[in-house]
């Protein structure tokens, strides 16, 4: 395997614990860009801004919604001192992103389609706003949408999709173009119904294992997100109560002579400590967002497994069907009844058919069998093709997941270290003040 051209950069990261968590997150994006699809070689993609709009919706009611500005510019290196070319821009709202995703899901059922950031804020801890119009939420969603576009743009198959390209470049008329593809017809309602169980006799063990893993991952990440939110809540309380020290030290310093100054300054540091938790927890939300992406990814993985189940099921049904028909033909030809059938019984009871009747029946069966064999062949190759392409994407996804989650854990550890350093700083300052008492 050829060495990545980007590997030198990544080696520099090792052992460097001073990198910030934003830098670590950027490592994920850099990895995506380096994967170098044809699309990304051509253009840079950004979701630059978010804006509030009001307008009439489909039932003619006023509604407020947010639109996001997508910027694209050619990915050429800018000469020293030169200015980059002005980007092409268009505005999209969340529902359009959703439409794009539905289209991709249906059109590429063997691909694990990247998920969108959450529509509504979930797993919130109480100080964090659950309001969709809250500026912090909107900002995190902007980042999430950019991430989504980059995921699609860096995918070896999805990046070549025409509709995706138009999504990035054609503001008007995109909706019509999507509907024109007629993708809605391909939507299989059976896939949506989670309760429908396909009794598959010979499932591909790899897919079964993958589905189980995906369910486990889904459960554990949701657990993690919920507990993390509770932890954040509690930590918030601990820090904020320390602010009370600030006030009481100040009041106390008023009645002291030599101790007064030291107490007063120490009080200020306690206030600083109490205030520091806001930024700390805000930063941690990025980590939660990274986990959430993979939480939502599990749904996409599940979809692919379900699709496989469905195809496998159809294959087995087709095979069963064919076998049954062949059986009937054999009985008809040899006159032996091996399989119980009502027709067979009645003919036994009420007399045999005429040879002409039998001939025509045989001919019809023969035809049916040939059609069935053709269908089976097609179904078989469809299945094999699906398994092949799906598994290719699954391997790609597994590697991506392992890398991304490791980066996320590193960035989380960096956040924790930064929090500890801040704590040490504040208490050391306070200690100095106490020493001056």
């Amino acid at each position: 395997m050829m060495a990545d051209s980007g590997s030198n950069e990544e080696v520099a990261v090792i052992g460097n614990t001073d990198i910030t968590s934003t830098e670590s997150e950027n490592n994920i994006i850099n990895t995506m860009v380096e994967r170098g699809t044809a699309l990304l070689k051509k253009m840079e993609i950004n979701v630059a801004e978010a804006e509030k709009r009001t307008g009439k919706n489909t039932v003619n009611m006023q509604e407020t919604y947010t639109v996001y500005l997508i910027e694209t510019r050619p990915a050429e290196t800018v000469p020293e001192g030169g200015t980059p070319a002005a980007p092409d821009t268009l505005w999209r709202r969340y529902s359009e992103f959703e439409l794009l995703r539905t289209y991709l899901l249906v059109t590429y059922p063997y691909i694990i389609i990247p998920p969108l950031p959450e529509k509504r804020a979930e797993f919130v801890w109480h100080k964090l706003s659950a309001d969709n119009l809250d500026p912090d939420f909107v900002e995190r969603r902007r980042v999430g949408l950019e991430n989504y576009l980059l995921r699609v743009a860096s995918h070896p198959v999805l990046s070549n999709d025409k509709i995706f390209f138009l999504f990035l470049t054609e503001e008007k008329g995109w909706r019509e173009a999507v509907l024109e593809t007629g993708f809605q017809d391909k939507v299989d309602s059976r896939l949506k119904s989670l309760s429908a169980a396909f009794r598959v006799k010979n499932p591909d063990k790899r897919f079964t294992a993958l589905k189980q893993y995906s369910d486990e991952l889904n459960t554990v990440i949701s657990q993690l997100l919920r507990v993390r939110a509770r932890v954040a809540d509690r930590l918030y309380g601990v820090y904020k109560v320390h602010g009370n020290y600030g006030r009481v030290f100040s009041e106390w310093s008023a009645i002291e002579k030599e101790m007064g100054d030291g107490l007063q300054s120490a009080g200020h540091h306690m206030d600083t400590y109490a205030a520091s938790i806001d930024d700390i927890l805000e930063e941690e939300e990025h980590y939660a967002d990274q986990l959430k992406e993979y939480f939502f990814y599990t749904d996409a993985v599940r979809s692919v497994c379900r699709k496989h189940e469905l195809i496998q099921y159809e294959l087995e049904i087709a095979a069963q069907d064919l076998a049954h028909k062949k059986q009937l033909k054999e009985e008809l030809a040899t006159g032996t009844v091996r399989v119980f059938s009502l027709k067979g019984m009645t003919s036994k009871l009420f007399g045999q058919e005429s040879p002409e009747q039998r001939e025509s029946k045989l001919a019809a069966l023969e035809q049916s069998i040939q059609e069935g064999e053709q269908a089976l062949k097609e179904k078989n190759s469809e299945c094999q093709e699906f398994v092949r392409t799906a598994w290719e994407d699954i391997e790609r996804f597994k590697e991506q997941k392992d890398n991304d989650l490791r980066e996320a854990l590193i960035s989380y550890a960096i956040m924790q270290i930064s929090m500890c350093k801040k704590g040490i700083q504040v208490w050391s300052n306070a200690k100095e003040c106490f020493n001056k008492m």
Binding site: M1, D4, V241, N244, G423, W427, S428
Partner: protein, 437 residues
């Protein structure tokens, strides 16, 4: 120069000028018995062989000496250590089970070069009751001095385990502090009851009880019924200071308790948080070690925080509460001073009226009262300064200790996360090099 000292009087022999025995000391004959005897006329400063009268030059000189020592105390509160000749320690708690009761005794060790003690070293066992006895004796025999407080006497059975290691440890530290404070006090340390406490095989607690009670009652009887006219400004200021200070300490106590509560709830959530990472590790391959690493870090942070919490509840809070008791003691002494001033004013008023009526000269008792008040004021001021200086040191130590514990906790956590990053980034190099092979 030790002849003529009454039995048990610790002032026999040479002692520094600063060690003044107050005339109200119970070891001298009670006021009502000796009217103006040579031993306790007015300011009995220095050795009892000197027959000092209130206006004598030597006593004035001695009073100035007292003030000098006062300044020395403020400049360097630990000046005493150079001349310290009495060292006490409380340690080694042991449980005693008898048919009647179960209780804890502590070893009280003494090392001294003072000739008031027969031996240079002592080692006795005392229980809380004995400390309580000592304190009562000191209060009664030295009412003008501030007696350090004892830890709380009563604990609610069923709520606090009187025999738990933590409780015993905390109590023992407080008893040790109490005894050290008494031993460091220039007057209290020469109290014969302290001597008995430190050296006697068996404390005969009934010794001198009857006598004491009489003295105590007579003082109360005499002082009762007098109203204070004008409290000198400095004592007003002391009273106000104590009120505000005790209020602030109460607030700090509440804040510290609230923080402990929040931290305990935070710890509960944090522990669960760690276990989720562990269980996630079970479903992963590549990510198993990183996730287990995170779980390990979280656990380390938990124990670091637990340690800090324990410290706060065992070291910080008890000292705060002890100071609240100390403040109450001090307020009591201020009240007694007020009473003694009120008594003097009352008697003076009565005597002046009588003089106006029938030319009876002002009795000596009234002058003695005046001396008493002046003595009391002087003692109190000296003790106040010493108390203020000790308070400053104690709180400096207490608060820097609190800061240290917090810094410790963050340092431990930081170290854990830093070693995790090294581990995670090492893994990255491994993967990269294996990729390029």
């Amino acid at each position: 120069m030790s002849v003529g000292a009454p039995r048990g009087l610790a002032s026999s022999g040479q002692k520094p000028i600063a060690e003044i025995l107050h005339p109200l000391s119970a070891t001298e004959e009670p006021l009502s018995v000796s009217g103006g005897g040579d031993k306790e006329a007015g300011l009995t400063n220095g050795t009892p062989v000197e027959n000092s009268s209130p206006a004598s030059a030597s006593s004035l000189f001695n009073r100035l000496q007292l003030d000098d020592d006062l300044e020395a105390d403020i400049q360097d509160p630990y000046a005493l250590t150079e001349t310290r000749d009495l060292f006490v320690t409380v340690d080694d708690p042991k449980k005693h089970v008898s048919t009647m009761e179960t209780y804890i005794t502590y070893r009280v060790s003494t090392k001294t070069t003072r000739i008031e003690f027969d031996l240079p070293e002592y080692c006795v066992r005392r229980r809380y009751q004995d400390f309580d006895w000592l304190r009562i004796k000191l209060e009664d025999s030295q009412p003008t001095h501030l007696i350090p407080p004892l830890p709380e006497k009563f604990v609610m059975k069923g709520v606090v385990d009187r025999f738990s290691e933590e409780f015993v440890e905390t109590r023992m530290k407080a008893l040790d502090k109490f005894l050290k404070r008494v031993a460091d006090h220039p007057v209290l340390s020469f109290n014969p009851h302290l001597n008995a406490f430190l050296s006697a095989k068996d404390l005969n607690k009934r010794q001198g009880l009857a006598l004491l009670t009489k003295v105590g009652e007579s003082v109360k009887h005499v002082a009762g019924g007098y109203k204070l006219r004008a409290r000198p400004a400095e004592f007003c200021a002391m009273g106000e200071y104590l009120d505000t200070f005790s209020q602030k300490l109460g607030t700090i106590d509440r804040i510290a308790q609230r923080i402990l509560k929040e931290q305990s709830e935070y710890l509960t959530e944090l522990r669960e948080y760690g276990t989720v990472y562990s269980s996630w590790a079970g479903s992963e391959e590549e990510l198993q070690h990183p996730l287990e690493g995170v779980a390990g870090c979280v656990t380390t942070c938990c124990s670091a925080l637990e340690e800090q919490c324990e410290n706060m509840s065992q070291d910080f809070l008890p000292v705060l509460r002890e100071y609240l008791l100390y403040i109450e003691s001090m307020k009591n002494v201020l009240r007694k001073r007020d009473q003694s001033q009120a008594e003097y004013e009352g008697r003076l008023e009565a005597a002046v009226l009588r003089k106006q009526e029938d030319k009876t000269p002002i009795p000596v008792e009234v002058e003695k009262c005046q001396d008493k008040v002046e003595c009391f004021n002087a003692d109190l001021k000296a003790d106040w300064e010493r108390w203020q200086s000790n308070k400053r040191q104690d709180f400096k130590q207490l608060l820097t200790g609190m800061a240290d514990k917090n810094i410790n906790h963050y340092e431990k956590s930081q170290a854990a996360w830093e070693s995790l990053i090294t581990l995670l980034q090492e893994k990255q190099t491994e993967d990269k090099t294996s990729d390029t092979n």
